[in-house]
Amino acid sequence: MAGTLLFNALREAIDEEMAKDSRVCVMGEDVGQYGGSYKVTKDLYEKYGELRVLDTPIAENSFTGMAVGAAMTGLRPIVEGMNMGFLLLAFNQISNNMGMLRYTSGGNFTIPTVVRGPGGVGRQLGAEHSQRLEAYFHAVPGIKIVACSTPTNAKGLMKAAIRDDNPVLFFEHVLLYNLNEELPKGDYICALDQADLVRKGKDITILTYSRMRHHCLKAISQLEIDGIDAELIDLISLKPFDMETIAKSIKKTHRVIIVEECMKTGGIGAELISLITEQCFDDLDSPPVRLSSQDIPTPYNGKLENLTIIQPHQIVDTAKKILNKGI
């Protein structure tokens, strides 16, 4: 089958940027000889050598801090969180140094870094490996946060993130690495701050990101059958939000559902719904609704795990309820 798997799209992006700019390097656990736990850096160690693709000891806080120091002195490091959850151990470096240092230094230093890796709820990986740290990191000033969702945007966003002079937290999803898609030809990038209008519709706006995009697409197929024309926006940029695209859509549909995989309390949707209320209140015909994960550690049991995160039928039911079409 033709096309490129998502993990290979990321790999191509990193490879192409490393070939073009010798300051770009990768560091993290098993990124080198092993090729990355999800093979995003496969064969790059052989191609670029052990310093440009650096296998680090298991010391997240320290190698993330090392990336900050390397970025301050002229390199453009990409840090892999083998699992994004592990970056809780690097929270201080990401917050105090990646995020705040440019400001506290009065603009002395820039920190061109990308921190990337698999996040989200996988298949029965247990609570610690099923985290949605985009929500935890959301309040940190000075970092951009993006989430890719297709092979095409994965490659274009990764290239943009590497070229950006600011720290970018780049969320991949553990269950999307094998998505297959034909990529655009040639060198292309996707803007880090622009949402993706996935499907145009007039009845209701659905805002989502990462793997939930695909749940929403399933739900929208059903809604279409049921006579509801939903508009789907993939946020892409979780910080800052592309409020222009979002507001434009709400102005048209007057109704909004946020579908997210993070927990409800203090989640991405919590901030988004606040902004929508502040900026789009007069355009709304019904209260905005959040469909979020339960506020619990993700359970191991598969049935309980499915109950923890939002499923497509819940999106369908909610849209119908908002539009009074009966459930």
Binding site: L51, L75, N92, N108, T110, G142
Partner: protein, 364 residues
């Protein structure tokens, strides 16, 4: 007292017993080779240390007069370390990484006193444009990677600068890349994971870095020997196969000598060194610290070893300078410090319209 265990195991040592185990260590220290000194070097060292001392004294005055706010950690007593290490390195070439006690490291690295004082006053002319404050002094121009306010977080950043140096040399084939990074931190930090993690990585990859421990015995109110299982920090290098050295941190030429040896190793590709400088802060942890725990005898022991007085004595006894010349330098420095205060007082505050500036990198 808290020093009981160390006292008991060291009963044969006399002299420094009453001043505690840290003083005993200094008393028993076998002096390694001190750096060579000539008139020019000697006067430079004296100038830098005097600037450090007088600058900090002025900070205390300004703080108590309500001109300076927040947490202010002064460096008095430890000047031989900043001057001994940074003075042996190449300015604007090598890199320096500090902590919350960073004023004097910044001055030694060459950041003008006006810029440091302005930063402490929160002014736009400060080295961090008034956004950083006492604990966050930065200067890209002077290769100051910054003051880091949390314990240990600067060490990985310093390691990153050392990594860049090696990367340029070995991955980018720039054979002229030989910069070395000095990472300064205290005894309290040596019980923190980042210290051990970075020692491991530095030695593993033979990175050009000097880990400079300024062991002043006290982590705020926690005595070093109450916080760590083996108080001899320099020996922890051995666990990583790294060279470690214990240095009289009250003797600038001893610190300079040890730094020269570490630099030689780093520049020739042999990797890192752990320098433990035995020193003491003459003031409390910060200007907000009532300093109630340290014994008078301990303070007396260390104040008798004032690093500035020691250098002054060395220079005069070896006929490298006269007392009058040193007095003249002190006068010059006092004028420089007063100038920095006047400059800072009359400098503008940051523009309120630029509150959000520096969050994001500017487009080229």
């Amino acid at each position: 007292m808290s020093q009981g265990i160390a006292k008991a195991s060291n009963q044969s040592t006399t002299g420094a017993l009453d001043a505690g185990p840290h003083a005993e260590r200094l008393s028993n220290l076998l002096s390694a080779k001190r750096a060579n000194c000539n008139r020019e070097i000697g006067l430079d060292l004296f100038r830098d240390m005097t600037l450090g001392r007088r600058f900090e004294d002025k900070c205390a005055e300004m703080y108590y007069r309500g001109k300076m706010f927040g947490f202010v950690h002064l460096y008095n007593g430890q000047e031989a370390v900043s001057t001994g290490v940074i003075g042996a390195m190449k300015k604007k070439h090598d890199w320096f990484c500090s902590t919350y006690r960073d004023h004097v490291h910044a001055l030694s690295a060459g950041v003008p006193a006006r810029e440091v004082m302005s930063e402490l006053f929160g002014k736009e002319t400060g080295c961090s444009k008034g956004r950083g404050g006492s604990m966050h002094l930065f200067s890209k121009e002077h290769h100051l990677l910054g003051g880091y306010a949390f314990i240990g977080e600067g060490i990985p950043v310093a390691l990153g600068a050392a990594f860049t140096s090696r990367y340029k040399k070995d991955a980018l084939n720039d054979k002229s890349s030989d910069s070395v990074t000095a990472a300064f931190f205290g005894d309290g930090t040596c019980n923190n994971g980042q210290f051990f993690e970075c020692l491991n990585m530095a030695q593993l990859w033979k990175l050009p870095i000097i880990f400079v421990v300024e062991n002043n015995k006290w982590a705020i109110g926690m005595a070093h020997d109450r916080a760590t299982s083996d108080p001899e920090i320099w020996r922890k290098a051995q666990a990583f196969g790294m060279k470690g050295e214990e240095v009289d941190g009250m003797d600038v030429l001893a610190v300079r000598g040890a730094t020269e040896r570490a630099l030689q190793r780093a520049r020739s590709g042999e990797g890192p060194t752990l320098l433990e400088c035995l020193t003491y802060r003459f003031r409390g942890h910060s200007l907000a610290d009532p300093d109630e725990l340290r014994e008078e005898k301990e303070k007396e022991f260390w104040s008798k070893r004032d690093p500035l007085k020691k250098l002054e004595k060395d220079l005069i006894e070896s006929s490298l300078a006269t007392k009058e010349e040193l007095k003249a330098i002190e006068k010059e420095i006092d004028a420089e410090v007063i100038d920095s205060v006047e400059f800072a007082l009359s400098a503008p505050d940051p523009n309120p319209e630029e509150l959000n500036k520096y969050i994001w990198a500017e487009k080229d």
